[in-house]
Symmetry: C2
Subunit: 243 residues, 2 copies
DNA sequence: GCCATGCGGATGTCTATACAACCTGCCCCT
DNA sequence: AGGGGCAGGTTGTATAGACATCCGCATGGC
């Protein structure tokens, strides 16, 4: 099982061996692997060596480890959700159209002074008053993405007082302020989540994140919304049409 | 330095402490941290514990470890390269416009049978002959992205024989085949690289990747190109305009 | 029936030690 | 002066053992 004279470290050989077993279906998603102690006996190595291999595999996302319970083969990668982005993207419609159940929760709403990045995107002076609205969106009850929206405060007076009424953001903006934002551009990046986002999205800190920044204008061309959305990388496939 | 009664594991406290020191500029990018043995003495813990902390920090990309030499604070994050994607994106033009030096190398060219995903995107039958052309692109001499292009074989006869002539792909396609691909849609995902891509892009396997899939049509509307591009997550910010 | 307690098994953390592999610079020999 | 080789420092791997913490289940008392 382990060739002690191959010149390859034991834990790497273990990783390769177990990865193969998973690929060959010896262990299926959700199956429990032998406990660390059992693996020690199987491979004739120290528990520390076993752990090094397990940590490596867990880092790759092939397995997950639950304290007090055991190590398990990671589930089949959840089906990627194809999220279409267009000039007027509406989360709720978007998700319902493909037969999934959308959900949303306001995480945070407050009026703040715009930092440079926000002010620049909203075409305001640094320090101008803006309304920050952070929303967590769910698909089939599971966290999918977090969006931090910024609006110029003078365009959305009293938004914070009505925060409980928000279910569909765009319906809300249209109804109360007559605003119909249209996307002008988006940028895409792949990074890692900060501790807060990781906890909120219920992913580990070394799962990748797809970050989309967007600016929206009103019908008169003024920028009325700037948003930063962090999508779970393991769930999201974002598509953009060029037509 | 380490509170042995805080209930927080030593290695996590160490990670936090060192992270703060780096953030505060006690250690600057490129600086060598104390050796593991020295850190043992400083924090009064076992070398194993020190290593656990170092591994964690290295995993986050805050430091990098060189065997036989030491551990160093990772360089300032490389400036993100803003890569604009539009209907007709041309890598070389794109990069030169922002004052950077583009480069490209063909990694692999061959004629293969289309698997389902490729065939579907090219509107062909599964198993149809397609030309696969994999290119590595550089910015300022450093690997930036890998693109795997697929073309229907009947549209690009003899492409493989002329492979050495390719410098700008679109110039090449236009000159030899009169093809002027136009992007119809793109999808964006955040994942991790496979071993090959990681090595080619010179990143570790736990750096995130931004994967963009695109389909291109010719002037008559038929699909003539399907491509999958893996961008280095630490370098790339891809922007799309909706105009 | 129901909750509490405890036990065994699992992973999490930490210490101590040893040797291997790699890098650098110094010293010595030519 | 130049090259080879050795010494010492650094990280990489592996072993052995100990205790902590968490989970699930069974047992027992109410």
């Amino acid at each position: 099982m382990i060739d002690k004279n191959s010149g390859i470290s034991y834990y790497r050989q273990m990783m390769e061996y177990i990865r193969k077993q998973v690929e060959d279906g010896v262990y299926k998603p959700g199956d429990r692997l032998p406990s660390e102690k059992e693996l020690c006996a199987i491979f004739h190595v120290n528990r520390h060596t076993v752990r090094q291999a397990m940590m490596g595999l867990a880092g790759c996302g092939l397995i997950y480890i639950e304290r007090g319970k055991g190590t398990f083969v990671a589930g089949n990668k959840p089906e990627l959700i194809d999220y279409k982005v267009s000039r007027r993207t509406r989360f709720t419609h978007n998700i319902m159209e493909v037969g999934l159940i959308p959900g949303a929760r306001v995480l945070c709403g407050m009026e703040v002074a715009a930092v440079e990045r926000v002010a620049g995107n909203l075409r305001l002076e640094t320090g101008a008053r803006v309304v920050l609205l952070e929303m967590l969106r769910f698909i089939n009850q599971e966290p999918f993405c977090i969006t931090t929206n910024y609006f110029p405060a003078h365009l959305t007076p009293g938004l914070l007082a009505k925060i409980d009424e928000i279910s569909s953001l765009y319906d809300f903006l249209d109804k109360h302020y007559g605003l119909r934002p249209t996307r002008t551009y988006s940028t895409f990046q792949a990074t890692f989540p900060g501790p807060d986002d990781a906890a909120t999205l219920e992913i580990s800190r070394n799962q990748p994140l797809l970050v989309v920044e967007s600016a929206m204008t009103g019908e008169d061309g003024t920028v009325i919304q700037y948003s930063v959305t962090r999508f779970r990388g393991d769930r999201s496939k974002i598509s953009v049409g060029f037509d």
